[in-house]
């Protein structure tokens, strides 16, 4: 077993999630399966392969595109605020932030 119940609770706390008992077990199993699979990948010999962080990266486009510094107005705030829970225009509103 790669992932313990405590690992799941720790990650859930970081993400500010409350999980019930059956969810804890579900996610534990899923995360465990992922790490077991990673172990399998680790068996491959990649000593002559450059580490890659992004699947988009290729020899043809090794670097990210850049954008010119020109303002383009989007004007979506109203539409988005209308769909946001508990918004009070012109602000988004969330339950009082608790310092942690």
């Amino acid at each position: 077993m790669k992932i313990s119940r405590d690992d799941v609770l720790y990650v859930a706390e970081l993400a500010n999630l409350e999980l019930n008992e059956s969810e804890v077990e579900t996610f534990r199993g899923q995360l465990d399966a992922i790490l077991t699979y990673i172990d399998k990948l680790k068996q491959l010999d990649v000593s002559d392969v450059e580490p890659m962080a992004q699947v988009l990266q290729s020899a043809a486009s090794p670097d990210g595109a850049l954008r010119e510094d020109v303002v383009r107005k989007c004007d979506v705030a109203d539409a988005i605020l209308e769909q946001a829970p508990e918004a009070k225009k012109p602000y988004f509103r969330v339950p009082k932030v608790i310092e942690r």
Binding site: N16, P62, L66, R67, E68, K88, P90, E99
Partner: protein, 504 residues
């Protein structure tokens, strides 16, 4: 999630100097700087300060699913310029990473930052430390985006809700991490001053601390003097003015010494400078809050600074404050102190050079510019930009005034008044001298008769002088200058008075 209790050490601020002398403080600064771009780091929304809430937002900076970031070229250029100005090695390739934490100011649930492969590493900044210069190491310079602004006060139901303005979310920042090379609050102050100056000179940022363009945190620890090992460090946040930086560091150093003297240990934590209470307060427990689970940002490809672009940015770099100071001393024969004052800002230095170009004597210009600054400070708000300090005084008029003092067209005493008038009205010195009747009295006999009159009116003081009280001499000079409304040459007055007092 419990809030760590606020703990302060009794008596902080009252550590006796002899106890303090047994300890050495170790300080490193972390400075966040807003880059002077028109748009945000990863979307085309405006970065303008003070716009109505949430008007400068879009799917990217609101973190809507599927929206993809594209890096601002200008932000990358300014970050590179800052790194080069701080003598860092700019990496050809760097990489963005996600810094994960849960807080409402972060719509995506992560901040796009840089972690393993920062933009630049290994630079330095010079400060004056007593008589000598000291190099403060720069660990790294990396790019990141700003978070949104949470507003807690001044709303209905403020007890239940936080209000969020995303205008600031996604604004491009650099974080400059300094080495723990500073040993006193004064050094930290000097370091931040020089850093701000370098960033202003290079137009990387407006460095407006009130608007949050420049924010400073400090890592502070103390250790017994002579010890090799660092003490436990505490991170102090919210040092958003030079004064707060110095006060907070002084407080925190005493607090830590107080704890050690009392046999306690310093807890590694983040503390917040409470401006109104004048103390640092514990903020959150570090070990928990700091598990950010960084990983490479999958939505952005690596950043590449091509060698020729880097060279172009280096070539376009304006003269930096250090180099300017050295040149002012070398070329204009100024003292180091004069050079420091004149290079305080680029506009100030440019004004000086413009005046000198009009033919004024450099050293005299330096002196008169300081006098003009004192005048300006009386009328101008500190926050106003230096350029405003001169009111209507053009460099040509200023140079003319310096020349008039030098060739004796006006006495130094009256030049102050003329300068004040120039500052108020923008008129040239010669015009003010003529209209106010401030031309010096060149007729030596006229001055002598005024001197005789002053002595005749003050026989007791003449007696005192002759009895050996040389202090009253200044009184005679003052009286003559008053009667001539400052138009007599002080040296001439001195000579005449000495002669008259000796004779009889």
């Amino acid at each position: 999630m419990e809030r760590t209790s606020i703990r302060t050490v009794e008596g902080a601020g009252h550590i006796p100097a002899e106890v303090r002398a047994n300890y050495e403080s170790v300080i490193g600064l972390e400075v966040h700087v807003q880059l002077a771009t028109a748009t945000k780091a990863f979307c085309a929304c405006s970065t303008r300060f003070g716009d109505p809430p949430n008007t400068n937002t879009c799917p990217v900076c609101l973190g809507l699913p599927g929206a993809l970031p594209v890096l601002n070229k200008r932000a990358l250029e300014l970050a590179t310029r800052a790194a080069l100005a701080l003598h860092c090695t700019v990496q050809e390739r760097s990489r963005f990473a996600r810094k994960n934490y849960f807080y409402p100011d972060l719509a995506k649930g992560y901040q796009i930052s840089q972690f393993e492969l920062p933009l630049a590493t290994g630079g330095w900044l010079e400060i004056e430390s007593g008589e000598s210069k000291k190099r403060i190491g720069i660990t790294r310079v990396h790019m990141e985006e700003d978070a949104a602004k949470n507003l807690h006060e001044g709303f209905a139901h403020a007890d239940r809700y936080s209000h969020i303005d995303f205008n600031r979310a996604g604004v491009p920042l650099i974080e400059i991490v300094g080495e723990p090379d500073l040993r006193a609050p004064e050094e930290a102050y000097a370091c931040l001053t020089n850093l701000k100056q370098a960033l202003e000179y290079t137009s990387v940022s407006d460095c407006n601390m009130e608007e949050g363009s420049l924010r400073c945190d400090a890592n502070v620890s103390v250790r017994p003097r002579g010890a090799e090992k660092f003490g436990t460090k505490v991170e102090v946040k919210n040092l958003n003015s030079f004064r707060y930086l110095q006060h907070a560091l002084e407080y925190e150093i005493e607090r830590q010494i107080g704890a050690l003297e009392a046999g306690e240990t310093v807890v590694q934590e983040t503390r917040l400078w409470n401006v109104s209470a004048g103390r640092t307060e514990s903020m959150r427990s570090k070990e928990f809050a700091h598990d950010y689970r960084y990983f490479p940002e999958p939505d952005l490809l690596p950043v590449r600074i091509a060698e020729n672009w880097k060279e172009e940015i280096q070539r376009a770099m304006p003269e930096l404050p250090d180099a300017k100071r050295a040149r002012f001393v070398h070329v204009y024969g100024l003292t180091q102190d004069e050079a420091v004052v004149l290079t305080d800002s680029q506009q100030y230095a440019d004004y000086f050079e413009a005046v000198v170009k009009h033919g004024a004597d450099p050293r005299q210009t330096a002196g008169w510019m300081q006098r003009l600054s004192h005048l300006a400070e009386k009328t101008a708000e500190l926050s106003e930009i230096i350029a405003d300090k001169y009111g209507n005084v053009t460099a040509a008029h200023f140079a003319e005034m310096v020349g008039l003092v030098k060739d004796g067209t006006i006495t130094a005493t009256n030049a102050r008044a003329v300068l004040a008038k120039m500052f108020e009205t923008g008129k040239p010195a010669a015009e003010i001298i003529a209209s106010e009747g401030l031309s010096p009295i060149t007729d030596e006999e006229g001055v002598e008769s005024i001197c005789r009159g002053v002595l005749a009116k003050n026989p007791e003081n003449v007696a005192k002088y002759r009895a050996g009280n040389e202090g009253v001499f200044k009184f005679f000079v003052g009286q003559v200058m008053r009667e001539t409304r400052g138009r007599a040459n002080p040296q001439t007055v001195n000579d005449i008075l000495k002669r008259l007092l000796q004779r009889s």
